[in-house]
């Protein structure tokens, strides 16, 4: 794996990164919600921020927005220290646990946020219309938010995040309440934001979704970044091949040794070769046949982000146990 592990270097020359943190920490008494977060997110990227529950993802987002105050380290958003009021004009945010004034209509909620975001009066109607069109709520714009389903409220949340034409959008689990069609639409929105040069900071548990939209990802555990880099580097070139057969044997495993790390699975009816290069699979199959194997299926698999996510977390847990 070639991804940068644990810490990425300081901000590169040129325009300031969209987000840059150095040992950012938040403690509540003796409890560390975030230990020492160091990372840099260049402008214009769709950046995935991943981690298990309690890793400090939402705390990190709240710190970046000035909603909570750090107890250590420092951070910059769009080149300004976190919490800077003028910089917040360029930021959109959809929280995970959100709620809007349920006695207002969607267009009234957006109009209120236009005022708060300092959108010029002349531009408000257009921005509200565009935001509602983008998230597919134009036909329900006059309905009270209280009558919306959870999914529709999440769409409204995304529309609110788009108000003010932000340069940076932080989305905390933006598709958790959406059906597959809604998720697809949100992915399309993220792609179009990227084309417009907007930086998207995506905090999501849905790793397959992250794989589809993110340029780079960071994986956090116990408040620290344990891996950060382009998606391809995080997942690496890790291929595996699952060979289903009538019966495995030590001789068959030995015959596969030159092609990777073979292991018996599924009560001896399958062998998985980890680290196998895809172009050597035909040779491996030929070797098996020569050794007397009766093969029923061959399934090559690329290592998924989920596999790598779990592998990294296990590594992080082992390291933490050793430190103790």
């Amino acid at each position: 794996m070639t991804a940068t592990v644990a810490r990425e270097g300081s901000a590169s020359a040129g325009p300031s990164p969209a987000i840059h943190t150095v040992d950012l920490a938040k403690h509540y008494g003796d409890v560390a919600a975030l230990s020492a977060l160091s990372m840099s997110v260049p402008r214009g990227e769709v950046f995935g921020f991943l981690g298990p529950n309690g890793a400090g993802k939402t705390t990190a987002v709240k710190l970046l927005l000035g909603l909570t105050f750090p107890t250590g380290g420092e951070a910059f958003v769009l080149g300004a220290p976190i919490g800077d009021r003028e910089t917040r004009r360029k930021i959109g945010y959809l929280p995970e646990l959100f709620r809007y004034q349920d006695w207002l209509s969607a267009s009234e909620v957006l109009a209120f946020h236009c005022v708060l975001a300092g959108v010029a009066k002349s531009a408000r109607t257009k921005q509200i219309h565009n935001a509602l069109e983008t998230v597919g709520l134009a036909k329900r714009a006059s309905d009270r938010v209280g009558s919306y389903s959870k999914g529709m409220q999440q769409r409204l949340g995304l529309a609110v995040a788009l108000i003010g034409e932000p340069e940076l959008i932080l989305l905390d689990e933006p598709t958790s309440a959406l059906d597959p069609v809604g998720r697809r639409e949100v992915r399309d929105v993220l792609h179009s934001l990227k084309q417009r040069g907007v930086t998207v900071f995506l905090n999501s548990h849905l790793l397959t979704e992250v794989e589809q939209v993110c340029d780079r990802v960071a994986i956090v555990d116990r408040g620290r970044v344990i891996a950060i880099g382009p998606l391809a580097e995080i997942t690496g070139d890790g291929w595996s091949v699952r060979i289903r057969l009538v019966r495995s044997s030590p001789e068959l495993l030995e015959a596969l040794r030159p092609f990777g790390q073979p292991a018996e699975e599924e009560d001896g009816t399958a062998i998985v070769i980890r680290g196998a290069s895809p172009d050597r699979v035909p040779d491996a199959i030929a070797a098996l046949v020569r050794a007397g194997a009766r093969i029923t299926a061959v399934e090559p698999n690329r290592r998924s982000l989920e596999d790598q996510f779990i592998r990294l977390l296990h590594g992080s847990a082992d390291a933490a146990a050793r430190d103790r």
């Binding site: 105050f69 009021r85 004009r89 709620r99 004034q101 975001a117």
Partner: protein, 282 residues
């Protein structure tokens, strides 16, 4: 301007959630019932001569003070229960998570809510209280000596309690903040007759404690201003004979330094609320 947008939203919320409608309807019912009572009393006085005109006038005055006290209490409860959830409720529900990241100061949110709720309370005090006094005047011909000053004091008292509940709302859960504000209002109200009774019995310790309570929470002292403005000279004099040791009538208005103290108290409590909100993790 964010502050005015939040003030306007606060007023719209009260209207949309039918707070204004519910309170207006209940107030109209109370005013209607009191009008019926005053009309009966007035008719008995005119037709049967009992009570005598002077007894009737004294009764009108006392009843007017008691009705004003009821409106004042409704206003206090309204102030506590509208203001206590205004910050805490939005933090608990998640509304604050989408409002506060906007390029606004947290003080804009707090002051906007204070402004919106203060306008609402002042309108209620002037509207419902004014209508009640007008109805009494129309039916009985009785008008208190300083009705507008009385209504001003009632609004002042409501705004003071609203400020306290709003400041508490930056730290305490909605229900806790509301209850604490109401308890403080009750203690402050009780401190007024308590201080006079302590003076009668020469209990200096209790007297000082009551004075401190009145200064810490000036709502009770402000109610004295409303009551005094509603009392005819005769009632105030009668109250003087008991040295003010009853919870309904008063013999003296609050002093000018106290009024400055109360105004300054509102400013200080607001600033403390802003400071507390600014330091709070959301």
């Amino acid at each position: 301007m964010p502050l005015l947008a939040i003030a306007s939203l606060t007023l719209r919320e009260a209207a949309r959630r039918r707070v204004i409608l519910a309170v207006a309807l209940l107030s109209l019912i109370v005013i209607g019932l009191s009008a019926w009572g005053f009309e009966r009393l007035h008719t008995m006085s005119v037709v049967q001569g009992r009570p005598s005109p002077s007894e009737a006038a004294a009764t009108y005055a006392l009843l007017t003070v008691m009705l004003a006290q009821m409106f004042s209490f409704v206003l206090a409860v309204g102030a506590a229960f509208l203001a206590a959830p205004s910050i805490a409720g939005e933090v608990e529900s998640g509304v604050a998570l989408v409002v506060l990241p906007r390029p606004i100061r947290r003080s804009d949110v707090l002051l906007g809510k204070w402004l919106g709720l203060s306008v609402l309370l002042a309108l209620y005090a002037l509207g419902a209280g004014g209508l009640e006094l007008m109805v009494v005047k129309l039916i009985t011909g009785y008008a208190p000596p300083h009705p507008f000053i009385a209504l001003g004091f009632i609004a002042f008292q409501g705004i003071a309690l609203l400020t306290l509940a709003l400041a508490l709302s930056t730290r305490l859960a909605s229900i806790t903040g509301g209850i604490v504000a109401l308890v403080m209002y009750g203690v402050s109200w009780l401190a007024q007759p308590g201080a006079t009774a302590a003076a009668i019995f020469h209990n200096e310790g209790l007297q000082h404690a009551c004075t401190v309570i009145t200064l810490l929470v000036p709502t009770g002292g402000l109610w004295r201003g409303a009551a005094f403005a509603l009392e005819p000279v005769l009632i105030a004099a009668m109250s003087g004979t008991t040295q003010g040791a009853n919870p309904i009538t008063v013999s003296n208005p609050p002093t000018t330094p106290f009024l400055f103290w109360a105004a300054g108290w509102i400013v200080v409590v607001l600033l403390l609320g802003i400071r507390s909100f600014n330091k709070r993790d959301i």
